[in-house]
Amino acid sequence: MMQLLDIVLTKNGLLTAFAVVGLTMLISYWASEKLTRGRLHGSAIAILLGLLMAALAGGKQGVADIPMLSGMGLMGGAMLRDLAIVATAFGVRMEEFTKSGVIGVVSLFTGLFVSFFVGGAVAYAFGYRDAVSITTIGAGAATYIVGPVTGSALEASSEVIALSVAAGLVKAILVMIATPFLAKSIGLNNPRSAMIFGGLMGTNSGVMAGLAATDPKLVPYGAMTATFYTGLGCLLGPSVVFIIVRALV
């Protein structure tokens, strides 16, 4: 009987994922209302539960490495995630984006250079003295995609590339967890600050989950700026940033 259930759940992975996530949401919203009296948003609890499950499963793709839950990878993968993000823009007026366009672009470049700089400085503090390693780890502090892309372009060692991916993952997960708690104190409650937030943080998964846990209405604004971050980071990392770092060390 268990074997039969196992086959059905594995073969219909996406449906299993829908059911498991639905149950997670139900528990989270219940806990939000009963245990925190609505102070901690249900979606924030659900995202924390998701991360906890991923840590317990321990795979490279979190719970998606368990055959029965492989559908989680599809449901939470880039394709459906991007589709849902774009759908959140439905009903948004164009002026909302253009109004904060300039500060959005400024945030984007500031966020990238700050991450490169802080990541690079940490690498330097830990004894890395070659420009390639410092740039790659700095790139990882931007996002876990900019890190390996920059690292491979500069032919960094695989150990350094792995470190840059880890730094990017730490960033994404930290943004997911911390955003709902810090939102109030940094004024993250309107479209404009959401665009600033998206540009400064840039890590797609972190920004999306952080805003979802804070106020889903802000998602399209954060996504609008964050969507340029990784691409620009991949452009600046191996070029401008590397040249600056090489001149400094």
């Binding site: 639905g22 459906l80 774009v86 730490v170 943080m201 998964s205």
Partner: protein
């Protein structure tokens, strides 16, 4: 029919991702630059045009709004498929590199958000 809405949404994303890749190609990087942002603009403009011509019927809208409403559960699935242990396995340096950058950026969000608003006030 709801599929019209979902089809429009999918087409916007596909065009956006292609244009994002093309921008990346022009800039000389093998990455998508702003694909989702372009798709969002296309969707807003597309829906606007349809609404003005009276072609946007409630069932069509539902084919778009459904995906927007299922956004949070999709993010939960994304969180559950993250390499959480991989983040911790990088050791102190990786954690510091990631965490310090995030801390500085959180402070900057607060500064930037206040900065411009002060300027707008009469």
């Amino acid at each position: 029919m709801p599929i019209y809405g979902t089809a429009l949404l999918s087409a916007c994303l596909l065009i956006g991702l292609s244009l994002g890749r093309f921008v990346g190609f022009l800039l000389g990087v093998d990455a998508d630059v702003g694909g989702v942002g372009i798709a969002m603009i296309l969707l807003i403009l597309g829906c606007d045009a349809l609404q003005r011509r009276g072609l946007m019927k409630p069932p069509t809208e539902s084919g778009i709004t459904f995906w927007g409403q299922i956004y949070v559960p999709i993010v939960v699935a994304m969180a559950a498929s993250q390499n959480v242990l991989g983040a911790l396995s990088g050791g102190v340096m990786a954690i510091l590199a990631g965490a310090l950058g995030v801390a500085v950026c959180f402070v900057l969000v607060g500064v930037f958000a206040r900065f411009g608003q002060g300027g707008k006030e009469p």
